[in-house]
Amino acid sequence: MADGKGFTCLMVILILGNIFGAAAGLALCALAIWVAVDQFKLYPISGVSGKDDIFAGAWIAIFTGFAFFCMCVFGILAAAMKSRALMLTYLILMLIIYIFECASCITAVTHRDYLVGNSNLVKKQMLKYYAADGDSGSRITLTWNKVMKEVECCGTDGPVDWIEYNSTFREKFGTDYPWPTHCCKRKNNYDVVNVEACKNGQNTTMFTKGCFNHIESVFSRYTWAISWYGFAVLMFMFLLLILAMVYYLML
């Protein structure tokens, strides 16, 4: 059973599959690094809420992606040398890495559902922590100021959130300013265009769309990178491992 056309064919398939798997694993590592770097700087929103496993999944995927790369290179070696011991090592280690990568995908997508399934959690966090004292308060305040300025939005679903609910901001600063001045349009020198008009809510001097769409799209983008691409890599590795087990039985 050790030699034969089918056997050679399987060996070639395994070697090619491992080459492709190495490339895929390395790409997973790179993508997970992109998520962990968080170019949109929205980590505090998930960090303060305790639902930050999108980023935990990214860190796991950095290591499992690189591990897949290394193991696939080892797998090429094991298949070419036709060694049972090496193939068994390959199979057991690949399974362990497979299980970790599964954990990363599942937890990333579950926490994304918690965070941005609807706007409630983000809204409650904004009302509670914006302008609050303490480390969480300052991180959330800085994040929201940045988002409101760059995305040109106000509040979670709209500026009405600030007047509909009580908030730390309202308790601290009273009702003179119904919403933070970051909701107001500014000139290039950072002066507010018209403070009084912004306080009254005139459409032309303030931002009237909500920020939740942007926040949701960013977290979804991160999650699809980790969980769906990780899922694709895992499906490929599943087939590869089944073939490797057949090859092992033929050795």
Binding site: L91, I92, R112, D113, K123, R170, F238, L249
Partner: protein, 256 residues
Amino acid sequence: MHPLWILQQSTSVKDYFVSTPWAGPWLSGPQELTWSENQTRQHLVPDSRMSRSILVIPALPFHIMLRSHESHLFSTAMRTMFIFFGMLFTLSNAEFQVSLLKESDGVVTGRFADSLLLSLPPCALATQSVTLEYNNTDTNESKTLVNIFKVLPCRFRRDIISNIENNGQFTTSRNLGYQVTNLTTGSTYRLQYVVGAEKSNILEVSTRQVKDPNQIDSGLPARSGAMVVITVILSVSMFILLVALIVTVAHSLGGD
């Protein structure tokens, strides 16, 4: 031909108030009012929204003719209108409308927790000073703000300003409404303008009730389809692989 009446003569000899025709199907376009004064003709084109307002036309003696651009049937018959005293025509009921400002008026909302944004009285009542009376229906206290502002005048040709333009040299602005402040949260109010002899309708509106943010339910809203698919498929594949590995190892050990 549309009859015109002198509504009232003001104390100054030079001014007459003339009725304008109420809007009807034959008067869909802008109207033109012409009169001649000492052999010179004058005319003005009020915009179509002024069909219920009052125009002031200086000087006498005059011939008045109303010409509609839409229909030539009424246009060129030169008829001298004489003054019909005693036929006072009631132009409209003496009430004008007041309402809350809405998004279409250019604001985020008209209802705040402690203030309300009201629309302004119509410009026909220009330069008269405005009094606002309001009453809190829960506690039944009334308040009257006397002479809060003067009604802003109309302009004959009303330009539509859609932006506030400020290029550092000039600012154009428009007046949207009046803000009633120092109200209590979550109470219902009845508000009414009084301008001279005219009153507005009574607007019944409540300020926003401020809600507690701790009441927002921030638990898991629903599990998305993506989450279910990924979890199920990955869990099943993990299980299959584990079983397959155990079978493989057992088979290879048993086979030796």
